[in-house]
Assembly symmetry: C2
Homo-oligomer: 408 residues x 2
C-alpha cells in the first residue's frame, strides 16, 4: 500500500481575505485532497473596518471580533496561533515565532501596516488604528486624557485636543465616531464641551480623494457642524510628545498641542513580504491576474499586501475589505483547480458593489450600485455592508451573533 503525501495549503492571516479563502477552501477541498492550515497571531478575527468605532469607544472591542474557531471547520482546518516571521520561498517553509511549517501552496493574507512616510516622531508618539489592542489603547488613552483634566491645578486644554492625521476613509470615519463619543466623555468627566478640539490635518487639498464632490461637501459640512476643524493642504512635519508640527504650503511651521494624535493617513503592505525577498512596492506585490506572486507559482497574495491595477483609471485599487474577500474566493478556487490538475486559472476582477463612508451614528455618505446615498439611508447601507461581510465568512449564525441591527 502506498500512502501518497497530501499537499499542504497554508494560509497566513485570518483577516477578511485569509478567512474567506479558508472558509471557501474547507468547503471545496475534500479531506483526502489536501491539508489546510491557517496561521494567525490571535485566536480571533477582527473587523478592521469597524476598528474606528472601538478606537473612539462607541462600540466595545468584543463586538468587533469573533473566535476564529467558530467559523472554521476544525475537522478540515488545522489552526495555529502564532506570528509569521519570514517566508522561505525556495525551501517552501514559513518561519513562525515558535515553530516552522512546510507548505505546498501558500496564501499570504497578512494585511497592511501603517505607512508613516518617514515623518519624524509618528511611530513613537502617534497611534494607529491597526488592531484590537491598538483600538482599546486609543480609546483608553483619550479617556485617560479627559479623566486627568480636572485633577490638575493648571488646566491643560491640549489634553482635550485630538488630532487625526489624514482625511481618507479611516480618518473621516474615526472623526464621525468621535463626534458621538465626545459629548459622552464630557458628561462622564464633568468637562466643558467647548474646550474639546477635534482637528483633522490632511496634506491633500481635499477630503476623501476620489469620492463624489457633492458627497464630500456633505460629509465636511456635517462634521464641521459637529465641531471638527479641517486643515487641508497641510502637512504634518513632525509628531512630538506634545502634539504635532504642521505647515500649509510654504507657510511657517506651526505647533498644534494635542494630548492624542492618531495617524490614519497611509497604509502599506506587510513588512514580512519584503523580509522574505518577494518583489514589492511598499510591501504591496503587483500580483498576476490569478493572484499569484510573479515568479512564485505556489504563492498567492491577497488583501492589503496585493496590488491590483484599476485599468479604467490606471491606478491601483485601494486596499479594502470588499476586494480582499473577493480575492479570497478567487484564490480558493484557483488553489482547488491546481490541486485537481486543471491548467486554467481564474483571473481576479473586482466587482465594486459600492463604497459607504460612515460619519458617526445614523449618518454616512456613499455610492451603492452607482447611486449616491447620504444620511440615514447611507448609514443603513453601511450596516448592511458590514453584515454582509459576516454573512459571507460565517453564515447567518454569525450575522445574528455579531451583526449591526441598530437600524432606524
Amino acid at each position: 500500500m502506498i500512502t501518497l503525501r497530501k499537499p499542504r495549503i497554508v494560509i497566513l492571516g485570518a483577516g477578511y481575505g485569509g478567512l474567506m479563502a479558508t472558509t471557501r477552501l474547507q468547503k471545496m477541498i475534500g479531506v483526502n485532497e489536501a491539508d489546510i492550515v491557517l496561521v494567525n497571531k490571535h485566536d480571533y478575527h477582527y473587523e478592521t473596518t469597524w476598528l474606528h468605532e472601538a478606537s473612539a469607544g462607541t462600540m466595545h472591542h468584543d463586538r468587533v471580533r469573533y473566535d476564529i474557531r467558530d467559523v472554521i471547520d476544525r475537522s478540515k482546518v488545522n489552526f495555529i496561533q502564532d506570528s509569521v516571521v519570514e517566508i522561505k520561498t525556495e525551501e517552501k517553509v514559513v518561519v513562525l515565532e515558535n515553530s516552522q511549517i512546510d507548505f505546498d501552496y501558500l496564501v499570504v493574507a497578512l494585511g497592511g501596516e501603517p505607512e508613516t512616510f518617514g515623518i519624524k516622531g509618528l511611530k513613537e508618539f502617534a497611534f494607529s488604528i491597526v488592531n484590537v489592542n491598538a483600538a482599546r489603547q486609543i480609546r483608553e488613552h483619550i479617556e485617560y486624557q479627559f479623566a486627568n483634566y480636572n485633577n490638575e491645578e493648571e488646566k491643560r486644554d491640549e489634553r482635550l485636543t485630538i488630532v487625526v492625521g489624514g482625511a481618507g476613509f479611516t480618518g473621516i470615519e474615526f472623526l464621525g465616531e468621535l463626534t458621538n463619543r465626545i459629548p459622552e466623555l464630557c458628561h462622564e468627566y464633568d468637562l466643558d464641551f467647548h474646550k474639546v478640539r477635534l482637528v483633522c490635518v490632511e496634506a491633500a487639498p481635499m477630503v476623501l480623494p476620489g469620492f463624489d464632490p457633492e458627497l464630500v461637501n456633505y460629509a465636511v459640512s456635517q462634521l464641521e457642524r459637529k465641531g471638527v476643524e479641517f486643515m487641508l493642504g497641510t502637512a504634518i512635519k513632525e509628531c512630538t510628545p506634545e502634539g504635532i508640527l504642521v505647515a500649509k504650503g510654504e507657510e511657517e511651521v506651526k505647533e498644534i498641542k494635542a494630548g492624542t494624535v492618531v495617524w490614519a493617513a497611509g497604509v502599506r503592505g506587510n513588512s514580512v513580504i519584503e523580509k522574505s525577498g518577494i518583489e514589492a512596492m511598499r510591501g504591496r506585490v503587483k500580483v498576476q491576474p490569478d493572484l499569484r506572486a510573479p515568479g512564485h507559482d505556489n504563492i498567492f497574495i491577497i488583501g492589503d499586501s496585493s496590488l491590483v491595477i484599476n485599468e479604467e483609471i490606471n491606478r491601483p485599487y485601494p486596499p479594502t475589505a470588499q476586494i480582499a474577500m473577493q480575492q479570497g474566493e478567487v484564490c480558493a478556487r484557483n488553489i482547488t483547480a491546481i490541486i485537481r490538475n486543471k491548467t486554467e486559472l481564474e483571473s481576479f476582477k473586482p466587482d465594486i458593489k459600492g463604497t459607504v463612508c460612515s460619519l458617526g451614528e445614523d449618518d454616512a455618505i456613499g455610492v451603492v450600485y452607482g447611486k449616491k446615498v447620504f444620511g440615514a439611508k447611507a448609514s443603513f447601507m453601511k450596516k448592511m455592508v458590514d453584515n454582509r461581510a459576516l454573512l459571507m465568512i460565517g453564515g447567518p449564525s454569525l450575522v445574528l451573533k455579531k451583526g449591526k441591527f441598530n437600524i432606524l
Copy 2:
C-alpha cells in the same frame, strides 16, 4: 418700622458633617430666625466612604454622588458653589475664590486631606482617594496601564502592579474592590491574571490597627487568597515615576516597580484651617465639647478637621462619616440654641454603633453593636450602614435613588 438684621449661618463643605448640619438647620430654624448659606466646591455631595469603589472601577462615580440641591430646601438655604480660600476670623468673613461672604455663625466642615508625612515623591507620583475627580482618574489610570500592556514590543509587567500604601480602612477596602476588578480588567484586555500584582505596604506591624485580631486575620487571609501581597512593618521611603522604594526595619532599601501607586495611609485636617490662623495639629482642631473652636465662640468645627478625644483610651477618635454626621446634628442643635438665646449648649459624645470594613463584593468584617461579624453578613451590614447615611441626610427618597440593594 425697624428691620432687624437676621443672623447669617454659613456652612463650609457639603460632606457628611456639613450636609447633615445643613439639613438639620433647615428643619429647626425658621425663615425669620436666620439666613442659612451652604458653600461647596462642587454642586454635588459624594460618599467619601464609597470612593474606593469608584476608584477601583467596581461602581460608577455617578452612583457615588448626588446633587446637593436635591437634599437642601432651597427656600431656606442659599447654596453657593465656590472654593474656600481663607477664613478671616476677626472680620467674620470667608474669602472664596470668586467672592467673599460675611457670617455670624460658621460651621467649618471642609473635610480632610491626605497626609504624606513628607515622604519624597508621594505628592507628585502617587494617587490619593480624595474626591470624585481623583477616583475616576485612578480608575482610568489603572485601566490605561492594562490597555497599554499588550501594545508594547517589550512587555513591562510593572504596568500590572498596583501598590497600595497603607493597610488602614481605605487601603483594605480599596484592595478588596481591586480583587473583584482585576479579573474583569484581565478579561477586557486579554491579559494573564497571574501577571498582575497587588501589593499592600504598611509601616505598622499589623493590618487595620485597633480592629479585633480575629477579624483582622480573617481579612488578611481572604485578601491573600485573592492574590494580595502584604508587606507589613515596611516603610515607603520614596515614590518615583517607576514605583516605590521600601525598607523593612533596618534592611536594605528595595525597589518595587509599579505602574500605579495609591497612597491611603494618612489623613490630616484641612489646610484652610491653618491658613486662617486657627490653632490646630496637622489641620485638626481640638474642639470644645460643644464643637466650637477654642477662642472662637461663633465657629464650629466638625468632621475630619475636628479632633475629639476618646477618654477611654486617651486617643483621638478616627475621622469617620459616622462621627461627622453625629457632629453635624449636635452642631445644628447648638447653633439653634445660641440663636434662641439659650445659654446651655449640648456636649458632643460619639455613639459608635459599629464599624464595618468591606473586603470587596459580598465579604466584609466588622463590629456592630459590640458583636463581631464577617463574610456575607458583615457585607450586608456594610450596605445597611451606607444606606443609613443616605437616609439620615436625604430621607427615604434618596435611599431609593442611591441606595445599595445588591444584597444576598
